[in-house]
């Protein structure tokens, strides 16, 4: 159905609250030096969660940029578990296990967009059902990869949803320095595909846009570009100081439209949400992330991991390097 039902609305808000709650826990862990650089999801929850709830997790792929993982709970607990390993800098943090149809974070801006197009194209060649949704930012939209892939998707009518999370900033670069286009959605013209702008603070609007794009894709009509307008409420990452460049009035205006608060109010008014529920969800979310963190910390790591998974089997040079590594780490353990 194009509109989420009450149960779905509740689940969407649950996932939004979970994302927000876990994000703040993650921020603290970073501040304590327990995990590496974090890109907070704050402000993006409705866009990410709303989009993902319109997908079929069994058949549809999600290729995130780097800000979305906490919003992908619907795809299963493996996403968070793997994300915590990723945040620790553990190599297993890149391996979301089969059959979860989520790719690991993409650091290279725009680079996942042609992957999404190729994957969608491959699925349709194999007559597999399903679509691919790829998340990318307003900043990433300036990369050649976005355009080349969007254009290719248009030609191939690939079942892909190009989902641009326009949070108004690419680190310190505001959208008016990113493009002179009327909107990011209007770039769809260049690919001959539909472009849709939605209020990314409204999870229902996002859900509907993705639902429709999905229907279009699965019925062979090809890709859709969706621009979800949100506002980045936090820093770009834990390494960033947004007070240097974010105008404070703009920020406080955006805070008033906070997607989580707004949707809590909405669903509370509809009798679908309560403070008790909120508490329960938050408590569980914190427990869950702490559990994932503990698990990640206790995941063993051997020096051998450095050499594993480059090729299916070592080249002669890699064999030499591996034995050198084993010798020298062996030695240094003796100290």
């Amino acid at each position: 159905m194009a509109k989420p039902n009450d149960k779905q609305l509740q689940m969407i808000l649950e996932d939004m609250v979970i994302a927000r709650t876990q994000a703040s826990r993650l921020w603290n862990l970073q501040r304590q030096g327990q995990v590496g650089t974090i890109a907070p999801i704050d402000g993006h929850e409705a866009a990410v969660v709303g989009a993902v709830h319109a997908l079929e997790t069994e058949s549809d792929w999600v290729l995130p940029q780097y800000r979305e993982p906490l919003g992908l709970r619907r795809y299963g607990p493996e996403v968070l578990d793997t994300f915590m390993l990723y945040n620790l800098g553990h190599p297993a943090g890149g391996h979301i296990p089969d059959p979860v149809k989520v790719a690991p974070s993409q650091i290279s801006l725009g680079a996942s967009i042609p992957h999404a197009v190729g994957l969608a194209w491959g699925m349709s060649l194999k007559d597999e059902p399903g679509v691919v949704l790829v998340f990318f930012g307003d900043g990433a939209s300036s990369e050649g990869d976005f355009y080349e892939a969007g254009n290719l998707a248009g030609v191939l009518k690939a079942p892909v949803i190009l989902f641009c999370v326009n949070n108004q900033w690419a680190i310190s670069t505001p959208t008016h320095l990113q493009t002179a286009a009327d909107s990011f959605a209007s770039k769809a013209e260049a690919f001959g595909i539909p472009g849709v702008t939605v209020d990314g603070n409204d999870p229902i609007a996002v859900y509907e846009a993705v639902f429709n794009a999905r229907k279009r894709a699965t019925s062979g009509k090809g890709p859709t570009l969706i621009e979800a307008n949100v506002y980045r409420l936090g820093a770009h990452t834990t390494a960033d100081d947004p007070t240097r460049y974010v105008p404070s009035d703009e920020l406080s205006a955006a805070q008033k439209k906070d997607p989580v608060h707004t949707f809590i109010k909405d669903l509370t008014a509809r009798g679908l949400w309560s403070d008790t529920k909120q508490d329960e969800i938050e408590t569980a979310a914190l427990e869950r992330i702490d559990e994932a963190f503990e698990k990640a910390k206790n995941t063993p790591l051997s020096a051998n991991s450095l050499m594993d998974h480059c090729f299916v089997s070592d080249t002669p040079r890699q064999l030499r390097q591996r034995s050198f590594l084993m010798d020298s780490t062996g030695k240094s353990n003796e100290h």
């Binding site: 680079a111 967009i113 190729g118 994957l119 990869d145 030609v155 090729f311």
Partner: protein, 321 residues
């Protein structure tokens, strides 16, 4: 060599229906060199795909096709235009297995012609193999015979890891040798000692092997017994074969078309230094392109190593007796 490549694509596509070809002008036109001739007619437009002129999207969508369980064989029309796709080749294809710890693999072959001697426009002839060799996660295969082209391309397509398959422009029509009709597999990473010798070994890959062989043969008349080692792939590098023949001869010449600085010949010399320094009777001599951009047609003969330069290099390494 062209026919060998075309035939291999035909037989591999017939063997495994997961194979999908993508690239510029590879369909109706059969490729600008006819390497993909007849394939669209045989396997249809959905398996032989003429893409927009977007090298990055060719390489990038190949990643997605591989994620979908297909086996993309992409063509970059000329190796020089792989620069347009470098962020996908080096940043994504080469790392897919590593960053996902083998959840995904890049069973992707990228074919691209390169190399001098045919007076092409800019960026058509550049030998970039050394730049790729410094990117871990890519295999780099450079056949020097038609028969090897078949055997190595078969292995490349079947290899679960990404392979850059570099075809010598001059060899497309200039190299003709007997190609086995039946399935023919040459494993990746096994060098070929195409000529035995005792005094010096000429080490090379791709079209320069042909020139090296000619020089080695002509040196017999001068009483110099020169071996020729065709590396066939520079990643994986057959360190054993390299070490063995260099140790045996005590003298070596490395021939490449690429610019001298940072060319793969340097890596060969460094490897010889590591593995068999003590058996060297003279410094290894490099024969290379020059440290300038690949030049226009009228300057090409000055740039590309030829038999006389290889010959002089061999004589030079024999001097220190």
């Amino acid at each position: 060599m062209l026919e060998a490549i075309n035939e291999t694509l035909h037989s591999e596509m017939a063997r495994d229906e997961r194979i999908v070809l993508l690239g510029e002008d590879i369909g109706r036109n059969g490729g600008v060199f006819r390497a993909t001739e007849g394939l669209i007619e045989k396997f249809g437009e959905s398996r032989v795909v003429d893409t927009p002129i977007s090298e990055a999207a060719i390489a990038g969508s190949a990643v997605g096709l591989a994620m979908a369980g297909l086996i993309p064989v992409a063509e970059i029309q000329f190796l020089g235009f792989s620069y347009q796709a470098m962020h996908q080749i080096a940043g994504q294809i080469a790392r897919l297995r590593y960053r996902t710890q083998s959840r995904f693999e890049s069973q992707i072959t990228i074919r691209a012609p390169f190399g001098g001697g045919v007076r092409t426009p800019e960026l058509h002839s550049d030998s970039l193999e050394a730049q790729f060799a410094n990117i871990p996660g890519l295999k780099i295969v450079l056949p020097s015979t038609a028969s090897d082209a078949k055997g190595l391309l078969t292995s490349a397509i079947r290899d679960p890891d990404p392979v850059l398959f570099l075809e010598p422009l001059r060899g497309y029509r200039g190299i003709r040798d007997l190609v086995p009709d039946e399935e023919h597999i040459v494993p990746l990473g096994k060098a070929n000692l195409i000529k035995k010798g005792d005094d010096v070994v000429i080490i090379s890959w791709s079209y320069q092997v042909e020139l090296s062989r000619r020089v080695a043969e002509s040196l017999e008349g001068d009483g110099i017994s020169a071996a020729v080692l065709d590396l066939r792939s520079i990643v994986p590098l057959d360190i054993e074969a390299l070490t063995q023949i260099v140790s045996h001869c005590g003298r070596a010449v490395v021939v490449q078309e690429a610019p001298e600085t940072g060319g793969f010949a340097s890596e060969i010399i460094a490897t010889i230094n590591d593995e068999c320094f003590w058996s060297l009777e003279a410094p290894v001599v490099r024969v290379s392109g020059f440290d300038v951009p690949y030049p226009v047609g009228m300057l090409e003969n000055f740039y590309v190593p030829d038999e006389s330069r290889i010959r002089s290099a061999v004589l030079k390494t024999m001097e220190n007796d």
